[in-house]
């Protein structure tokens, strides 16, 4: 197993080598319009130890809706793999994806939204 796949396995407990590129996850994903790379393509990058997988916006556009995980024929939790890719970046020292002090329209947002964003994009 390559180092990147190893790290993804450590964090998500998912083995990316189970993926045989059927594309079901990407077909079911409702956010692909905004992604620069499809979910199953990102998994290929991880299988090939291409660190570009961490730089694609795919894992950040992912909304953790789990349609991919429910439909994967190999039983892979694709959402957890996306979370692992996010966590690898988030756990880097000094990495900041969001600034909680710069939330637009914070007066209108319910607490649940801010909590979800804070928990998802920071450690």
């Amino acid at each position: 197993m390559n180092e990147l796949a190893e790290r993804v396995k450590e964090i998500s407990d998912q083995n990316v080598y189970s993926c045989y590129q059927c594309g079901n996850c990407s077909a079911g994903c409702m956010f692909t319009d905004e992604m620069d790379t499809l979910p199953h393509q990102v998994i290929t990058l991880v299988q090939m130890e291409d660190k570009e997988a961490l730089e694609k916006n795919t894992s950040w556009i992912c909304a953790s809706c789990f349609v991919c995980s429910v439909r994967c024929p190999r039983g892979l939790d694709v959402a957890a793999i996306m979370e692992a890719l996010r966590e690898i970046k988030i756990r880097e020292r000094g990495f900041r994806k969001i600034d909680l002090r710069k939330i637009k329209d914070i007066e209108k947002l319910p607490q649940i939204a801010i909590t979800a964003a804070a928990q998802k994009f920071t450690w």
Partner: protein, 281 residues
């Protein structure tokens, strides 16, 4: 009102703070239905989105602290059932509880870390309010309806958190691809559920904070689908979905908007009690 069911109740931050009308309508409906909601004392925020990282035990702590308090209160009143109104709370609490039931090491780790409270023994059952209604029986609910909402076309919106993921087993409250529980509720209150192909689509979740355009893209499609089914109103089981859908409505023309209500508000309305609906609806 004869008390048929007494359960522990986990309110969740948004219901208490931002949408008190959802909670009030629930209490009113419960009184009519004979359900006694006993709030868990000193509950902690669940965290909204569960950690999908297998190594992040820290994120379970809020839920576990709430479980410990629920466990103690539950012993007092003789129940181990915790009910939530918010689907996100349901999703987190259910998943954490299942993980702790399955993984003995994680349970030990968490219990050791929380050294200022008694240990959590994973015997609680987490259910969403819709489960509770189903268990009580929609026919019993129908019996107590005072004002059947005849002629009202309702789009049953499920969202993600009630139905997915399907592992650990036990999270979905119904079939993830073809659920019927909200349609059953709608029929029991006398209204008509409409064909709504986008009913299990994601509203955009936390993207409302930093990428609202994603939420707008999603909710326009969901609202559009409800409108195609000729829905008068969209029924939502989650405060975040409600906020996102309302945000989506604001980006549409008046003629394209479909108002969104929380599911217990329509339930309360049909039971003839205060539903705390906003005047325009």
């Amino acid at each position: 009102m004869v008390i048929m069911v007494e359960v522990l109740y986990y309110p969740g931050c948004s219901l208490r703070n931002t949408y008190p009308e959802f909670e009030k309508s629930t209490y009113a409906a419960c009184e009519k239905l004979g359900i006694n909601l006993v709030e868990i004392p000193e509950w902690n925020c669940c965290g909204v989105v569960p950690s999908l990282a297998a190594d992040n035990v820290m994120r379970h702590l809020g839920a576990v602290r709430s479980f410990i308090k629920a466990q103690e209160k539950g012993k007092e009143i003789g129940t181990n059932v915790v009910v939530t109104l918010c689907s996100m709370c349901y999703n987190v609490l259910k998943r954490v509880n299942l993980i702790l039931k399955e993984q003995v090491d994680t349970l030990k780790n968490v219990n050791d870390f929380i050294d200022d409270q008694p240990d959590y023994v994973p015997e609680l059952e987490i259910v969403h309010f819709l489960n509770l209604l189903k268990n009580v029986g929609f026919d019993k609910v129908k019996e107590r309806i005072v004002t059947p909402l005849r002629g009202l076309k309702v789009a049953p919106y499920y969202g993600c958190a009630l139905l997915r993921p399907d592992r650990p087993e036990g999270v979905p409250i119904d079939d993830p691809e073809n659920p019927t529980v909200i349609e059953d509720l709608i029929r029991s209150i006398g209204a008509e559920p409409v064909e709504f192909p986008f009913r299990t689509e994601c509203c955009g979740n936390y993207h409302i904070v930093f990428e609202p355009s994603i939420v707008e893209m999603r909710t326009k499609k969901i609202i559009g689908s409800a409108r195609l089914g000729k829905a008068d109103v969209i029924l939502s089981p989650c405060p975040l979905c409600t906020y996102n859908l309302q945000h989506g409505n604001e980006t549409l023309d008046r003629s394209e908007q479909v108002p969104v209500v929380f599911f217990t508000q329509l339930l309360a309305l049909s039971l003839g009690v205060k539903s705390h609906l906003s005047t325009e609806i």
